[in-house]
Amino acid sequence: MTITRQALPRRTFLRGVGTTIALPLLDAMVPALTATTRTAAAPIRRLGFIYIPNGVIHEQWVPAATGAAFDLPPSLLPLAPVRDQVLVLSGLAHRQADSMGDGNGDHNRGIAVWLSGVHAWNRLRNGGEATLATTADQIAAAELGRHTQLPSLELSLEVPTQMACDSADCFFGNTLSWRTPTTPNHMESHPRVVFTRLFGDGGSPAERREQRRRTGSILDSVVEEARQLERLLGPADVSKLTEYLESVRDLERRIEAAETESAIVSLDLPERPVDVPASLYDYAHLMFDLQVLAWRADITRVFSMLIGLEGTNQPYPDIGVPEGHHGVSHHRYDPVLIAKKAKIDTFHVQLFAEFLGKLRAIPEGDGTLLDSSAVLCGSGLGDGNAHDHINLPTLLGGGAGVFRGGRHLHYPADTPMTNLLLTMLDTAGVPLPERVGDSSGRLSLA
C-alpha cells in the first residue's frame, strides 16, 4: 500500500535545507568548559535518562555471567554494535515504590520513583498535597543547565490519557521529572514543539534576537503584574502564583543564556517536523534525532524521556504484538505472552542502542559525543507481571574511559538504584545532595 503515512522518512529529515543558525563551535567550547566542568573529576558533560515501562522479562534480559565475558541475552542482542559502551546492571531496586499500605499505584509509583527515589504518596492521604521530590535530572539541570539555553528537555512518546487508572493519583505517572517537590515538569510529545523550543521559529540571528528581547520585556511586565496580585492573596494560596513566577524566571534565564552565544558557526538544520510519525519506531527516532541535535548544539545538557507511560497499553503491531503492552506484560507465565513481552523489550533495547549509535557517530574533540555523555535506560518496574520494583532493568551507556563499558555488573539484592543516580551526578560534576531519595552512597561501578 502506498498511501503516504504520517511518518517522516528519516532520510528527508536529515537532508533538507532549513535555516542556518548561529551556534557555539563545539571544539571551541572545550577550553571554556575545561575550566568549569570538564575536569578529571567531571568527565561526563551530558546526562540522559530514558524510561521504558512495564518492566521486562528477566530471563531474557539478565546475562548469566557477570564481568566482561558475558553473552548478550535475547533481549539485549541489539546492543551488540555498542556493547563496549554499555554497562548492564542488575540487582538494583527502588523499594520506595512498594505499596507501603498505599494501595495499588505501582505503575505510577514506578515512574515517580525512578529519578526521585521517593514514594509517591496518594494525595488524599497526604492532606491534598501532591509531593514527590526534585528528580535527579533536575538536580543535574540546576548545575549543568547554568550555561545552556535550556536547562533540560523533557520528552515523551506518549501523551497522558484520561484512562481510569489503578490509583488515586494517576498524574504521578505523567512525568519523570519534578523541578521541586511540588512542581512536576510537563513532558513534551510533539516533535514540532520540541524543534521550536530548541531552535525557535527560525529566521535570522537578528530576528531571533529581537524576538528574545520582546519576550524578555513581556516577562518583566508580567512579573510586575504578578507582584501586584500577590499582595491581594492570602499566603496559603500563593503557590500557583509562585509556580507561575518561577516559570517566568526560568524562561528569563533561558533568554539570558541564549544571549551569550559566543563563536558563530552555522549548523544546517533540517526542516521543522510537521507531525507525529505514525510508527513508534519512526517517532522514537525523530525525537532521538532532535535530542542528538540539542546535545550537539549544546542547547541543553540534560534530558529525560518516556518511551511510554507506565501501564501503557501501546500496541506494537510492527513487531508482531498487536495486543497492547500492558496486557502482555501481565503474562501470568503464559509462554506465548512472555515471548511477546520479550519482543517489546528487545525493541526498546534496539531503540536505545540506535540512539547510542547516533551519539557515537558525532565527533567531539578526539572522541565522540557518546564518550562524554552518560545515558541511563531502564524501568521503575522489575517484573511487570508482579508489579515489583526489584531487579530493575538498567543499562548505562556512554562515558568511555569513565564507566568501563562492556560489562555486566550484578549488585546485592535491594541495592538502591538511587546510588547509581548519585554516581551519575558525581561523574558529571554536579554538586551532590546529601542523598537522592533512599540512596545510601555512590554506586561502585568497578
Partner: protein
C-alpha cells in the same frame, strides 16, 4: 468520589435491595431516631465492626452518634453501604427494604442537620489556571476564531493537562511549568498576529494529513452525495492573498480521477489525478482572510463510461487501502498543505478584527484614546471583570512600542500578545474575603459569573453576564435562574456534553483504542468517528432538551448515519449525515450501554471484557467501584485442557470459584456477562469468541437475575437513586473543579432531592449545583496584609 481508606477486602455485594434517595416518608421524632439507628447497628453491624474485631478498621460499637457531628466521614461511608445494599453482606442477617430506607434516611438527616449548622464549602485555591480546553474556548470567544490553523493548534502549542477522577479541570492538578508558560508565550504571539492580520507574520505552512486508516471509497459525513473520500479542513487565514495548496495523493492510477476542491461550499478547482501526472498537485487560490472551510473530495467522472466498476465496500483490513471491486487501486487523498498568503494585500475585515477593533482612530491624535477603548473592552472580557487603569498601565507601553515600530494595528497586536499571557487571563482568581470568623462568605458577583460560565460553557462569561455581575444584580431574585436558563440554551452549552460528559464517561479514550485488524476487520477511522459522534449527539440531546438524566440509561432514540446503522444492523438509514432514529424500546439499544463507543471503550483489542464492562458500569454509572485488583492475578485461561477455546464464562470460572476473586468479581462479572451480546465493536452477536452460543443471563450476588442488555438496563433503572447521586457527584466535581469528600455529601443529597420534583431533569440538577453552598461560597481566609 471519596476513596475508601479501608484496607483489606470487604465482601461487598452490589445490586441487592437498592432504594432510591427519595424524600423521607417515615418521620421519626428526633428522640426516637437515635435509638432505632443504634438498635439497627447493634443488631446488624456490630457483630463484625466492633472494637475487638475491627473489621475493615471500623468500630461501630464505639461510634458517636451522627447527630453529634463527629465521625461524619464514617457515617457517610455507613450510609453509602446501606444505600447500595452492600452491607450487611450476603449470608448475614439483613433487614428488609423499608428498614434499610428508614435507617439510611435517619442517618442522612442527622448528617444534613449537622452540615447545615456548620456549613463548609470546601477548600478552593485562590488561583486556578485555565485548562487547555478552557483556554481554547476563551480564544474562540474573545477573538471569534473557532479553528486555528494547524500550525497554531493548541493541542500542539500547549501540553496536555493532568486529570484525576477523569476531569482535567481540577484546580490542584493544573500546574504551571516553564514548558506550559513557554507554550502560552508562543500561543499569544502567534494568535495575536493571526487575529490582527499582521503582515509581518511568517507564512502559514500547514499540512493536514488524512489518516491512512480512513477509507476513502465512500462518501464521508457531510459531503455531497456521489463524492467519495477526501477531507475537510477548517482554518482561519490571516490575510487576503494567494494561497497555494499542495495536494498529495497516493494510488494514482492510469485512469483520471477528479478531485474537487471547494472553499466554503463553492467549487474552486477540479484537479485531475492520474498516474501520468504523478502524486503531487498544486492549486493556487485567491482567498479572503478569516475562517474558511476547505474541502477536497473525489467526484465521479462526468457522464463518460468509466472503466472502473461500481464501487463496493471492501474489506480493508484496517490498513486504509482503497480498492475497487476488481482490486485495482483508487487514488486516495494523503495530505493537503496550505501555504500563504502570497502577495498579500494585508489586513482585511475578519471576525477577529471586528471583535478587536471596536473603534478605528480617525487621526493620529485619536490613536491613544482609541487604543484605550479597545484594550479596555478586551481586558474586561479576558480578565472577566471591568478593566481598571492599572490594567491599561501595564498594556499601553506595549501598544506604544508596537505603534512606533509598525503603526496602530501593530500596537494593538503587541498589547494583545501581552494581555494573553497575563496571569489575570490565564488564571481564574477568587480573592479571599477578610472574615476573621472563618465563616464561609459568598463569592463576589463577578466571581460567580466566572464560575457559571466555566461550568456551563467551559469558557469566559459573555458581555451580558459580566454586565449583570458588575452592576451587582446577579444575585437579584430570579436572576441566577434566568441566567442559567439562558446559558443552557446557548450553543456554548455544548461544552457540557463535549467536556463534562465526555470526561465523565472517558469517551476521549475511544480515540486511542486500536481493535485488532485481523479480528475486527471492519474497524476503521470512519467508524470510530461515527461511534463518537453518536454518543456526542445523544448526550447533547438529553442535556439540551432538558430530559431526565435517566434517559441516558434508557432512551427510545439515538443518532445514526448509514455507516453506523449498518454496523448495528439497523435498516433503512441512508446517507452520511447523522439524524435522530427511533429505536425499539424493548430492544437492547437505547441508552449509553447500547452505544458502540462505550462498548469499544470497555473491550480489549482482541476481545470483549466482561470485567471491564462490569467495572465501568459500577464505577462510572453507579459510583460504586469495586476495589482494585491485586497485582499478580493468575492467568485467564483461554483454552481448555484439550486445547479447545473456552467460552468467556468458562474462562472466567476461576473468578467465581475462588472466594478471594469472587468477593469483587461477583459484582463486576455478571453485569459484563449480560452485555456479552455486544462484541468488541458494539455489534450485536449471538456467538462468542469461542464459537459457543452466548448465554447472556447472569445471576447477581443477591440471586436476582439480569438477562441480556435489556436486563442490565432495567437493573440500572431500578437503582436510579444511585445513578442520579453518582451523576450529581460528578457534575458537582466538574462544576467546582475539586474532588468531593464526605462533607459535600449533604450538598449532593440536597441537589438530588431538589431535582426529584422534575424527575431529575438535567436543567434542575444544573440549577441545584449552581445554587448549592460550595458553588455560591468559599471559605474565608485572611488576606495578606497590603504592604508598604
Amino acid at each position: 468520589m471519596p476513596v475508601s481508606a479501608w484496607g483489606g477486602r470487604w465482601a461487598a455485594v452490589v445490586g441487592a435491595l437498592l432504594v432510591t434517595t427519595s424524600p423521607v416518608r417515615a418521620q421519626s421524632p428526633e428522640g426516637l431516631a437515635q435509638p432505632s439507628t443504634r438498635a439497627f447497628l447493634d443488631r446488624y453491624c456490630v457483630t463484625c465492626h466492633n472494637e475487638r474485631l475491627r473489621q475493615s478498621g471500623l468500630m461501630l460499637d464505639r461510634l458517636e452518634t451522627a447527630d453529634s457531628g463527629g465521625a461524619a466521614e464514617t457515617w457517610e461511608k455507613v450510609v453509602r453501604k446501606l444505600r447500595t445494599g452492600a452491607m450487611p453482606p450476603q449470608g448475614r442477617p439483613r433487614p428488609d427494604a423499608a428498614t434499610y430506607d428508614a435507617v439510611a434516611t435517619a442517618i442522612e438527616q442527622a448528617l444534613d442537620r449537622v452540615a447545615a449548622a456548620s456549613p463548609d464549602p470546601g477548600r478552593m485555591p485562590a488561583l486556578r489556571r485555565l485548562s487547555r480546553t478552557e483556554y481554547a474556548n476563551a480564544i474562540r470567544d474573545l477573538l471569534g476564531i473557532a479553528h486555528l490553523p494547524k500550525g497554531m493548534d493548541l493541542a500542539l502549542l500547549l501540553p496536555a493537562d493532568n486529570s484525576r477522577s477523569g476531569f482535567d479541570n481540577l484546580a490542584d492538578l493544573l500546574f504551571v511549568s516553564p514548558t506550559v508558560l513557554d507554550g502560552y508565550l508562543n500561543a499569544a504571539r502567534e494568535i495575536s498576529r493571526l487575529a490582527v492580520g499582521d503582515p509581518g507574520m511568517p507564512l502559514l505552512v500547514d499540512t493536514y494529513r488524512v489518516p491512512s486508516e480512513l477509507p476513502q471509497e465512500r462518501q464521508l459525513e457531510g459531503f455531497p452525495a456521489g463524492t467519495r473520500g477526501g477531507t475537510r479542513i477548517q482554518t482561519y487565514l490571516p490575510a487576503v492573498g494567494e494561497y497555494r495548496m499542495a495536494i498529495d495523493v497516493s494510488g494514482a492510477s492510469r485512469e483520471v480521477h477528479g478531485l474537487e476542491v471547494a472553499v466554503d461550499g463553492d467549487r474552486v478547482g477540479l484537479v485531475e489525478i492520474s498516474r501520468a501526472h504523478g502524486e503531487s498537485y498544486e492549486l493556487r487560490l485567491p482567498l479572503t482572510a478569516g475562517p474558511h472551510v476547505i474541502t477536497a473530495t473525489f467526484v465521479p467522472p462526468s457522464g463518460a463510461l468509466s472503466e472502473e466498476p461500481v464501487l463496493r465496500a471492501n474489506n480493508r483490513g484496517g490498513s486504509g487501502a482503497t480498492a475497487g471491486l476488481l482490486g485495482q487501486r483508487l487514488p486516495a487523498l494523503a495530505a493537503i498543505t496550505v501555504r500563504g498568503p502570497y502577495g498579500g494585500a494585508g489586513a482585511a475585515e475578519t471576525p477577529a478584527r471586528r471583535r478587536l477593533f471596536v473603534c478605528r482612530p480617525a487621526s493620529d491624535a485619536d490613536e491613544a484614546p482609541c487604543a484605550r477603548r479597545i484594550l479596555s473592552t478586551f481586558v474586561t472580557r479576558a480578565y472577566r471583570r471591568p478593566a481598571t487603569s492599572g490594567d491599561l498601565d501595564l498594556l499601553l507601553p506595549f501598544f506604544e512600542e508596537g505603534r512606533q515600530a509598525g503603526g496602530f494595528d501593530a500596537g494593538i497586536q503587541r498589547a494583545l500578545e501581552r494581555l494573553l499571557v497575563s496571569p489575570q487571563f490565564l488564571f481564574r482568581i477568587e480573592k479571599p474575603t477578610a472574615h476573621a470568623s472563618g465563616a464561609p462568605a459568598r463569592v463576589s458577583d463577578l466571581e460567580l459569573a466566572s464560575r457559571l460560565s466555566f461550568f456551563l460553557w467551559s469558557s469566559l462569561p459573555d458581555d451580558e453576564l459580566i454586565d449583570v455581575a458588575a452592576r451587582g444584580t446577579l444575585r437579584a431574585p430570579g436572576e441566577i435562574d434566568r441566567q442559567v436558563r439562558r446559558m443552557l440554551a446557548d450553543p456554548r452549552a455544548a461544552a457540557l456534553a463535549t467536556n463534562f460528559a465526555a470526561q465523565w464517561l472517558f469517551l476521549r479514550d475511544v480515540e486511542t483504542r486500536r481493535p485488532d485488524g485481523g479480528i475486527f476487520a471492519d474497524f476503521e477511522e470512519g467508524l470510530r468517528r461515527a461511534l463518537l459522534r453518536e454518543t456526542e449527539l445523544f448526550i447533547g440531546s438529553v442535556f439540551r432538551e432538558n430530559r431526565s438524566v435517566l434517559d441516558l440509561l434508557e432512551a427510545d432514540y439515538t443518532f445514526l448515519n448509514e455507516r453506523l446503522a449498518k454496523h448495528y444492523g439497523i435498516p433503512h438509514v441512508y446517507g452520511s449525515h447523522f439524524r435522530r432514529v427511533a429505536l425499539d424500546p424493548a430492544g437492547p439499544r437505547g441508552g449509553l450501554l447500547g452505544q458502540g463507543s462505550i462498548l469499544l471503550l470497555t473491550s480489549y483489542p482482541t476481545r470483549t471484557s466482561p470485567v471491564l464492562r462490569g467495572k465501568y458500569v459500577l464505577d462510572n454509572l453507579l459510583g460504586a467501584p469495586p476495589p482494585p485488583p491485586p497485582p499478580d492475578v493468575p492467568a485467564l485461561q483461554e483454552t481448555g485442557g484439550d486445547g479447545t477455546p473456552l467460552s468467556m464464562r468458562e474462562a472466567m470460572e476461576r473468578h467465581r470459584v475462588n472466594p478471594v476473586c469472587a468477593s469483587c468479581h461477583a459484582q463486576m462479572d455478571p453485569v459484563g456477562f449480560a452485555l456479552e451480546n455486544f462484541d468488541g465493536l458494539g455489534r450485536w452477536r449471538t456467538t462468542g469468541e469461542s464459537g459457543d452460543l452466548i448465554d447472556a443471563r447472569s445471576a447477581l450476588p443477591d440471586g436476582r437475575e439480569v438477562a441480556g442488555a435489556t436486563g442490565v438496563r432495567d437493573w440500572l433503572l431500578a437503582q436510579s437513586g444511585a445513578f442520579v447521586q453518582n451523576f450529581t457527584e460528578r457534575l458537582l466535581t466538574y462544576a467546582l473543579g475539586r474532588d468531593l469528600d464526605h462533607r459535600d455529601m449533604p450538598v449532593v443529597r440536597g441537589i438530588v432531592r431538589g431535582a426529584a420534583r422534575d424527575d431529575y431533569a438535567f436543567g434542575s440538577l444544573v440549577l441545584g449545583v449552581v445554587e448549592s453552598l460550595p458553588f455560591q461560597m468559599r471559605r474565608s481566609e485572611a488576606a495578606r496584609m497590603a504592604r508598604e
